[in-house]
Subunit: 423 residues, 4 copies
């Protein structure tokens, strides 16, 4: 399925007058409105190839109809999101869930749909059929060199797929760790992991980046080899200039000040990637912005500051949504996620950085708080709508999605029982 | 597979002299040693029928060989554990994972193996094939009466199975809740749940108990209808005298003082059941005692006090192990779990309650702490071994299990790829 | 110091035109705007008498100038806040920090300032000079009846002060608990507490309410006698119809779903009082709304629903700000707190309850989320300003406060080193 | 007050026979017992000069009699602990709470008492009388260079005191941070802190070490400049080879795997110091070992491994007890703390490292768990007693302390109302 430009134009028509009125009002208040609209309209977030199917928990999964069962269908789903939001022009591929049988054909298909390939993702946390060694007790950290070699080879293969597809980065997320005290020697696990990563790093083309994700727990419940940003940063520094830390919002202990971590990494030019989701308890992988929209705003405050004040040359982070769609139609959920991200981003752009700095230098805490809250409390729906509109997207993407009856069209195309690969 | 008495006797032989020597030493120090051995030797913990297969996380599962694929085989696995530990003479059945095709035959098989049926478990957190309505958005709390009726009927059917098997209680664990603010009306969900429970309660035979489990999150990540003991207690009080709260160690927010909850419930005679496991982060379902053995000891301190001082007539709680065996052979893990539970229990029995009360009344905190720590620091391996020995169990169950090469025997019997039902 | 009506009128003058324009725009969008303005303009939150001085941590306190050193001065400070916000017409008195020497005179002074006396607060968590027995090891739960009697007598005395001042409720917050396992017998502590509360309850006039606060930890770090809402609720039910649970936002374990607790209590008509503050880690007592404004909004969503749908006759809760002003001028901080509370309240009032119910009944999660987020993302500054304006308050209270140079006036009056009683 | 050798000998007399009997039994089981006793008998933990008085919380403090009111008396208190435990031969001084008026005299006094000076502690988290600039908004991170200069000068002065007293290290703990989003620019705060630390580092004698402590929150409740080990490690690497990270057990977010952090730091030779305490909720500063003795054991497992396998030349960490004595007599509490630390240490020394490594290499999780638990469940009281005995300490220090009626002697000497400096 593909959404045609005329359909969107038709749906926008009824909303246009009211939208333009609001925009006029807004532009009177905010002198930098054009810049903000511009920034938002140029912003894109990658969609992972595993996000288009039903997510689940260890207690089970509830399917829905019309899931994409091929990589081609997944690209089509992303193009639906992109057509409506104009902010999802990239896919982040997972190997082996989405091995392209014919890389050229897939690349062409993506290009045709206006999509490209963002960071590649490897998987050494599950055993695949016909795999020689098991990852039950780890992969890059494993005590058995055979297992480590197999995991390294897999990562190299993922890089190779990425090269063929035009990707420029590899994200390594390791489930490696232990469930029981004593199971693992922490030092040996760390050193094995570092040595394995060095081999992978050596395979990286010169214009690629390596992103090292961290996570304090799950699926291992006592220790994770890369438990925090400090460990990821240590590994990245050891590897070399192409290695960076990747922050996933759900991968933190309760109450962690994530925006502070973001600031520290950007101060050193070490923030490579960003995975969006939200959570109340653990790595809940809920749609970003549903639990802690103010925290998301504070994180974007740091991102905006870091990108605008960048002596350490931090690259623009690779943005990706990494949530699990257990109850909602994934396409609707992803559209809501994109809106939440851009809402936070636009609000952060509204912060009067000069006034903020002044208040900070005087330790005028009341004013500093007020500046942030005023920006946060501003309604930016119109800014987002305008940013989409200028790219021929939908003023109201969720309503458009429903008006176009996308899910039912997909069900008709693919049936009620199609299954996407993934968790 | 079944372990024969002679095999255990033979394995105990070499350990007997040293064991008896240690016992003599210990008996000199502790005047109430016989009572403690007696209590431990009479103690049994139910094994759930789903615990004999490989557990997993949402990121996957790593199988192992010889998993039981029928209920009969599961009973045999439990009898292996029981033969070695003499503390696992009951099974807690899960419906529909383990529906007995012929209840009489199963009951006979269990009796023959020296096992009986403890609390029954219903399941309304997953959809089964051919199920008319989906539990995707809840069961007893659902907005649609059809779904609630189906869930109520299922629970009644589980009671009926239990009656046929000689069980005397039903455990209701609800996954009902919501992932997103706004998804659920809390009040409606609570009232629907209460009304549904009342129907189930009405189906309960007069000599049965109903256990209401609580959990703050997972598989729902914003709200759970029965989020804490306060809610469970409220529901149980509304239902009537046969309803109780069930405590699962993993179902608490970070840092919860669980022993305090246990004490409060026992003060009111409302603690009906207990699920053992351990965790560091969330509902990790690790083997009990591997993370917080001191907490387990403190909980047993309250249980011992509550059972010995019982004006509110709290029943002896239904004990069950409820862990997930992701990395270890489940039988070995269950044996280690039983040892951990009995270790905590025996240490709690060593507490000098009179001296403790004296110290408490004087607010002599240093002494009170010391009394607890002295009991905790006592090595009770010999007590446990003697308790097993008196029941013809193994002095060292794990070593016996390995000496008898149980897993390989099971693999020979059942093959490498047999699969147990469950999560 | 007192702020005169003309001063506020003068300050509002410049803001009036723009304000009215925004109001007109808003009223076009929201048909129930008048109702919302009305509700907000009738809303008041009590200020505790200890909140006007510098707060601190165990690591110290940083003073500021012009602190009120008498109860009279504290009332004047509150009247300043009230003059600007028109939402702080009550004081919540703490005994013994603020014992009125002459109750009649104080009552008159308050009336003159347009203030009245909300819930009274007792203190059995500190020792006062010339106190016979120490609360080091607890008060209402103490093992020594002399201590319990002293604490009960203190609470009765607080009620008597309240009667004289026209208050209608007593808030009991207990620090009682233990720092070390073994220190306390949980059951004895619970029963002593219940017996003590019964004596206090018996002293309550017929038109009074008793609020029982709960807290999981601090100042005791192992157990607190009233650790959670379940315990508070149990005690309140035992006491009788005048007893209720009080929720303090900071008194919860990490990740607690507080709005769910609020809903449960209101379903049963048991929510008596509410203490506002915010926190990221523990009972941080930061200004409400600075960390989790969305959570505050979700709580108000439940409060609004509970007050509008009230078969169990839950009373209107007693509202109080209970924060610690470590870095900010307390008056500014309290003004910001009031704004944050009313922001959340106004946004919750904007929720389309009918549409929400419809979405919930259909399990249309996407729409339910959207309804809440749309309300939350609406800018309600103008609503709040209009609500103040109609009561002759300030359009922009913080700016007015600064324009009037209140703090410096107070410093001139009271000096740089005056000290308020309190923590 | 001082305890005389004869007094201890007399008290040991009655316990000697039973003790020697137990020792003989133990030596039969553990072939390396002599080595363990040796290690424990050579082990010492520094006592901070502020630990001898009553601790408290922000809700108040409950005093007790006989508190030391001078540095000399504090040294005497430590010598009492040391006489009984023979494991507390050093004091860790806090400036300005314990500025020695005459460094030579104090040094002599300490030497005479068998004590020396361990790590020095600076304080820039409180304002002292007559201090020019306030630390209300930070010290080394402050936006105002005058404040930073003052804080740097203070740290240099502390180093100078330390040089005079024979200390060899400085511990820097910073309360610097913020309570409100927006208050602080994270990057500026980090860079100011680094620049300030560089100045302090430059003042360090060549044979000194600098320990950088980290803490996620408190007394600031939004952000702390050095929030985690990753930040501390980053700063230490920037400073140079004399800078290290210091781990305080209470300074972690809920559920942190601290032993893993310890292992990582030792792998890189970066663990400089260690502060012992215990907690259930936050930085509760309870006596070490009262909440999570198994975690303490696991930490010591890493410490033992790290000290025995040390290619990165990690120095022996500076050990210090850093708890708050709110309810117990500090001397008794410190004695219990020392016992808890040495208990964990001795149990960790009992771990069969070779067997553990073997199990790890085979991923035999069951055996690895068992090896750790067997060591942990061994009763090591006798080992500790023997280690003390060989140094002429008390077999049972707490009982000895009470038999000697130390507290009452101190009260007689110093009165009921003496006050120690500190929090």
């Amino acid at each position: 399925m593909q959404i045609h430009q005329e359909e969107i134009v038709a749906l926008n028509k009824d909303l246009l007058v009211e939208h333009k009125e609001k925009l006029t009002q807004l532009s009177r208040k905010h002198s930098n409105l054009e810049d903000i609209i511009d920034t938002i309209s140029n912003y894109n977030i990658a969609i992972p190839s595993w996000a288009l199917g039903a997510g689940g928990t260890r207690f089970g999964k509830f399917g829905f109809g019309g899931e994409p069962s091929t990589l081609e269908q997944k690209l089509e789903d992303i193009s639906v999101i992109n057509a409506l939001t104009k902010s999802a022009n990239a896919v982040s591929l997972h190997i082996p869930w989405d091995i392209p049988k014919n890389t050229n054909a897939i690349k062409e298909k993506a290009t045709h749909l206006g999509l490209h390939f963002d960071a590649m993702n490897s998987n050494t946390f599950q055993d695949q059929d016909n795999q020689e060694y098991s990852y039950k007790f780890g992969s890059l950290c494993h005590t058995d060199k055979n297992v480590r070699d197999q995991a390294v080879a897999h990562n190299k293969a993922v890089i190779d797929y990425g090269i063929a597809l035009g990707s420029k980065s590899l994200t390594v997320w390791l489930a490696d760790g232990s469930n029981f005290p004593g199971q693992l020697n922490f030092r040996r696990a760390f050193e094995n992991t570092l040595a394995s990563l060095k081999e992978i790093y050596a395979h990286l083309p010169a214009d690629w980046k390596l992103f090292i994700e961290y996570k304090p727990y799950e699926p291992n419940f006592y220790s994770m080899v890369i438990q925090d940003w400090g460990t990821s940063h240590m590994l990245a520094k050891d590897l070399g200039e192409q290695a960076y830390t990747l922050v996933d919002l759900g991968h933190h202990l309760p109450n962690t000040n994530i925006e502070h971590i973001v600031a520290t990494l950007m101060t050193r030019g070490m923030l490579g990637g960003f995975h969006f989701n939200d959570s109340k308890y653990g790595d809940d992988d809920l749609s970003v912005g549903v639990m802690k929209p103010y925290q998301l705003f504070l994180i974007f405050n740091e991102l905006v500051f870091g990108m605008e004040n960048n002596p350490a040359n931090n690259p623009i982070p690779a943005w990706m949504i990494d949530a699990s769609h257990n109850l909602k139609d994934p396409l609707e959920d992803l559209i809501q996620s994109i809106e939440a991200i851009e809402t936070a981003y636009a609000k952060a752009l509204l912060i009067d950085q000069k006034a903020l700095e002044e208040a900070q230098l005087k330790n005028d805490v009341v004013t500093a708080q007020r500046i942030l809250q005023d920006a946060f409390n501003t309604d930016v729906k119109t800014i987002l709508a305008e940013a989409r509109l200028r790219n021929d997207g939908a003023i109201d993407p969720i309503s458009a999605y429903r008006s176009l009856d996308v899910r039912n069209v997909l069900i008709k195309e693919r049936g009620m029982n199609s299954k996407a690969t993934g968790l």
